[in-house]
Symmetry: C2
Subunit: 325 residues, 2 copies
């Protein structure tokens, strides 16, 4: 049993229903998107460095990001909370902060469930709802086309650098830590991209580019080329990686929890999208590579300076990562 | 902090949104109802007596019941699952059974989240969706009227007798145990009641009649009289209570997890509803008492043979019940 096998089994049972960051419910002319995420203490967060305020903000942001990834507008959330009786003070601040975060995001808290936890581990379960702004405007994973340019909006690997500094209890690295503790859901970006018909496929990056791009190409039954020379860390990022014992290439490719948007664009419109995105949102897109036809099976190939290269990567699996996180 | 305070705080923050068994989302002419429930090992179930098959069935039934309580038709569910790697075999059977339970209930599994649990406790979080069959047909808690007759469809206290036998590891009492392990969501009953305009208020009974009727009268800003002589246990039920050290009155009033429907009916139509219900569903309604005007505050008074009586009752609160369940 691992997460991938479970998802595979459930997909097999309901093949038409499961596959994107959020499920879509068609109601007459409106599409509602729904997503659900668990956040569990000592699996997804540690109280040693996550305050109840930032936990509330992050729990909501992670869920908002799934709605952003579909190009929809979030409007409602449900909160499930299991807490130990001794955690009352933490829970009180968490709940107040969660209500504030909802109001800031213009999302209504519509209900949920609170219960006792059998241990001193906090369990959060959020269900988030969004609406498509117009019919047939949502973006999916399975619609990438051969030749599409692959872009990322938002950082790659920064949250992982911050996470590593927090786990190793190293002072400094505040901006990286902030990427991990207070990630940004790119709702406005997702909504804008949803209005662009040349944007073919979209998802958010929660498990790292390497894993999530594979999900996208598998759903689309295509392959992808990652061109490593197209995106690199700054000197400061490289120093941070070196000091923290991280491989910079692996960090960029597999670092999770950035909640950046991953999307593919028709090659003829790629430069236009890149320019307009920068104008609208004030930061550049990262050009990752391109979608290619699948030869026999789907795959993601990594290229450096025009030649295929092999990078040793540790894929992400909650069930296996008992030791390190 | 306890469950009631948390719900009160969240209701205060979003006063128009929270209050029924499920939240309602209005989409043009359709109403979608959504509810979320957590099921946690050693809080809501124990593996010692709950097989993965019956856990899957019960997890879905408990959520279906919230949709039944609104008078809606369930159509989709999301599953959040946190499990320890060593629990793979249990999880495998649970997932297969959950898929079967969904198909039997004609509910599609639309998504969810699976993750590692930090301990060997299984955490389930379900989000269920239903649809109103016609506009303006849903039933709520806040709409009981003075003079309404209070009915219950389904057993009262049977699940608690079964639960007690399971907790005390006593053989026999199989039908009571079955009420606890495999409760029935009364979807058809809820749908039929939703078509009756004389049915004013409805909810399901998860925390016991005593607690849930208080929720209903508080939401309706009315009071209620429970007429104990109107419903009593059979001789066999009384013997079961006696053997298991249970007070029969307390068991009927506070025993949780029966997932019976609690509803109020205009007094002039009460007998008609009672007769038609028996004809349609083959079992009788329990007549609990009546809704009265609230004098100063809302309250639930217990009467026996025409006179008010005091019964010592232990209200249900997940956060407090660390010792016993």
């Amino acid at each position: 049993m691992n997460e991938a096998h479970i998802i595979q089994f459930l997909k097999g049972a309901f093949p038409e229903e499961i596959g994107d960051d959020a499920a879509v419910i068609q109601q007459q002319n409106t599409e509602i998107v729904i997503s659900k995420d668990l956040l569990i203490e000592e699996v997804h967060f540690r109280r040693r460095y996550q305050t109840p305020e930032s936990l509330a903000y992050k729990a909501l942001a992670v869920n908002l990001s799934d709605i952003a990834a579909m190009g929809a507008q979030p409007f409602a959330v449900f909160l499930g909370l299991a807490a130990h009786p001794e955690d009352g003070p933490f829970v009180d601040i968490f709940l107040e902060s969660f209500v504030s975060a909802c109001k800031n995001a213009q999302v209504k808290l519509l209900g949920g469930d609170t219960t006792r936890a059998p241990s001193k581990k906090l369990y959060l379960s959020l269900t988030i709802l969004g609406r498509a702004l117009s019919p047939h405007q949502l973006k999916h994973r399975h619609t990438a086309q051969s030749g599409d340019i692959i872009f990322v909006a938002g950082p790659l690997g920064y949250a992982h650098i911050g996470f590593t500094a927090l786990e190793k209890n190293v002072a400094g690295y505040e901006s990286y830590k902030d990427h991990f503790l207070n990630p940004k859901a790119r709702i406005d970006e997702g909504l804008w991209l949803s209005t662009q018909s040349c944007v073919h496929a979209m998802m958010d990056i929660s498990d790292g580019l390497w894993i999530d791009l594979q999900k996208l190409v598998q759903a689309s039954q295509h392959s992808a080329k990652i061109l490593l020379e197209n995106f690199s860390f700054t000197d400061a990022d490289l120093v941070a990686c070196q000091n923290l014992g991280l491989s910079d290439t692996e960090t960029r490719l597999t670092g999770g929890e950035d909640y950046s948007l991953l999307f593919t664009v028709h090659p003829q419109q790629a430069e236009k999208i890149r320019t307009q995105f920068q104008e609208n949102f004030g930061y550049p897109l990262i050009k990752i590579g391109e979608i290619t036809a699948a030869v026999e099976t789907t795959s993601v190939q990594i290229y450096r300076d025009g030649a295929p290269c092999h990078v040793a990567l540790n894929p992400f699996d909650h069930f296996k990562r008992d030791q390190d996180y």
